[in-house]
């Protein structure tokens, strides 16, 4: 029983449950877009003084911060009670990560400790990777008007051509990073 509880969920369970999340939020009169809360958080911290982009009634977006709070709690529940926190990826991908980048933790961890373990935060490079990666995600999501949930799920589900352009952009960026920039930084 415990084994079953801790097994990862296959794609054909997760995809439909994500679609269900989208439908629930639509029926609650909201929308499924996880990056909007970053703007809400900036506004709540007083960023309206620096740019009109943050001058809006952020309290009306309080619901979005509640979804975020829920996601934090959900992550805690899943990691604590429902997971072994290891991820088995394609053995060839795992071998390539070990050979090319010295990341040998595939299959034994959820995130590679080589980058994320707090003991490795003494490395300036890891700080730059984490803050820089986050910066690009935050900047890009607002510039593109949405992230994976807002464009790849909600926008494409609503047959929006701009969302298709954004998703193509996501993959161009991702492929450039993995194929050309990773070999330079790892």
């Amino acid at each position: 029983m415990e084994y079953l509880l801790k097994e990862p969920w296959p794609w054909y369970a997760a995809g439909p449950l994500i679609a269900l999340t989208l439908m629930i939020l639509l029926l609650l009169g909201k929308t499924f877009g996880m990056s909007s809360n970053l703007r809400t958080a900036c506004a709540a911290m007083g960023a309206g003084k620096a740019s009109d982009f943050f001058k809006f009634d952020w309290k009306s977006q309080r619901w979005n911060l509640l979804v975020v709070l829920g996601a934090i709690i959900g992550g805690w529940i899943a990691a604590t009670y429902m997971s072994t926190s290891t991820v088995a990826i394609n053995p060839q991908t795992a071998a390539q990560l070990a050979t090319d980048y010295g990341i040998t933790s595939a299959g034994t961890a959820y995130l590679p400790p080589e980058i994320f373990a707090s003991v490795n935060l003494t490395s300036l490079e890891n700080w730059l990777i984490l803050i820089g990666g986050g910066f690009l995600v935050g900047f890009g999501a607002r510039y593109a008007g949405g992230c994976t949930s807002g464009h790849a799920i909600t926008g494409l589900s609503n047959l929006q051509l701009p969302s298709l352009v954004a998703v193509i952009g996501f993959f161009i960026g991702g492929l450039v990073m993995i194929n050309w920039i990773y070999p330079l930084i790892f």
């Binding site: 969920w9 679609a19 829920g70 959900g74 995600v137 992230c147 609503n158 193509i168 161009i172």
Partner: protein, 137 residues
């Protein structure tokens, strides 16, 4: 009551993200190296059901609870921002191995260093807000 429904939706979403491994750096790396169908299956099946669901809502003129209109506004038809913003987002998604939803899920799961990614994302969002009028849209 509404407060609780948003919180529960978030908890549900967080569990799905963690359990499906969509919040794992390894799965994102594997997706961008085409090593597995897993992530494509998740996004693809969510998308197919999302298209069907939204079509049904539209065909039946459904309203949200409380009778308000569904929030399904068309996106602006100006393409540079979607392509440029999309590419920048993709660079970050592959570098940090996390997009905005999973960041919070991972924080809850106890990966403290993901807080640096979230701080970076807040700075990035702020920077966009400041530079917005100078960028091509």
């Amino acid at each position: 009551m509404k407060t609780l429904s948003y919180l529960i939706t978030g908890i549900f979403f967080g569990i799905v993200m963690f359990k499906s491994e969509a919040a794992s750096w390894f799965r994102i790396y594997e997706m961008f190296t085409f090593g597995s169908f897993h992530m494509y299956g998740i996004i693809g099946s969510a998308l197919i059901l999302g298209i069907i669901g939204i079509q049904i809502l539209k065909k039946t003129n459904s309203k949200a609870l409380g009778g308000q209109e569904l929030q399904l506004a068309a996106k602006d038809r100006s393409y540079p921002r979607y392509l440029l913003g999309g590419v920048i987002f993709g660079l970050g998604w592959a570098l940090a191995g996390a997009c905005p939803g999973p960041m919070y899920v991972l924080l809850g799961a106890g990966y403290g260093s993901i807080a640096l990614v979230i701080i970076g994302a807040l700075i990035g969002t702020f920077t966009y807000g400041v530079l917005r009028n100078k960028l091509p849209h």
